[in-house]
Symmetry: C2
Subunit: 139 residues, 2 copies
Amino acid sequence: MALPARTDAGIYFIGVIRTPWRRRRDCPKRGSLDGPLCSVVVDEHWRAGLSGLAGRRRIQVLYWMHLARRDLVLQVPSGAGTTSGTFALRSPVRPNPIASAIVALVEIDGATLRVRGLDCLDGTPLLDLKPEFAPEPSA
Amino acid sequence: MALPARTDAGIYFIGVIRTPWRRRRDCPKRGSLDGPLCSVVVDEHWRAGLSGLAGRRRIQVLYWMHLARRDLVLQVPSGAGTTSGTFALRSPVRPNPIASAIVALVEIDGATLRVRGLDCLDGTPLLDLKPEFAPEPSA
């Protein structure tokens, strides 16, 4: 299908994700909390935003699937054999290729987080980090 | 802090979210799966992408917090009293104001999903819908 002539908002790449997977076909279908150690490297510009994140067991990572097509509303996932709507799949192929993963936070070393649970290519741009749940309101 | 001079990628608004909350101060801190019914209205252009989503109990909704500041790496959440890094909070204020919620899917009526679990302003732009989990591989 045709993509709209223009986008509606812009996003910043705030860092980069380092994983063992160099080719798309090597990436796991889905991350696992006991998968290999990956690094989330936050740009120096945004580093102060990590303050208070240490000690969280799980965090949510949003990243940009920069090699994925954006023009398919229907697709046949590999191994499935049947056509499905894009929004019924977690495939990277989607109008806005924003991936979301809950990962286990192993440690924070400066502006680098070591995590388990990612599924993406080495070099994937980072969009956001959030705690898995909002902090409890203080009493 | 200063935002970078330019963004790195563009996103499409693929629909709009209808909620009972018309002012930011009325929004709940966090959505609840037994919260009020909200509507996620997918643009006609992308509607075919919903195929196969019916029957899912929970889906992930990504949306764009269009009124939020993007230039704070440190903030004092209301009610907290202490400064925290942006990435240690789920506040809408962040470099890329992409919110993520797991919602209960009540029904799909054409290109409109009725869901419970959102927390955002009426009129919030929609970015993506995904099933909560990837479909099981077919045998």
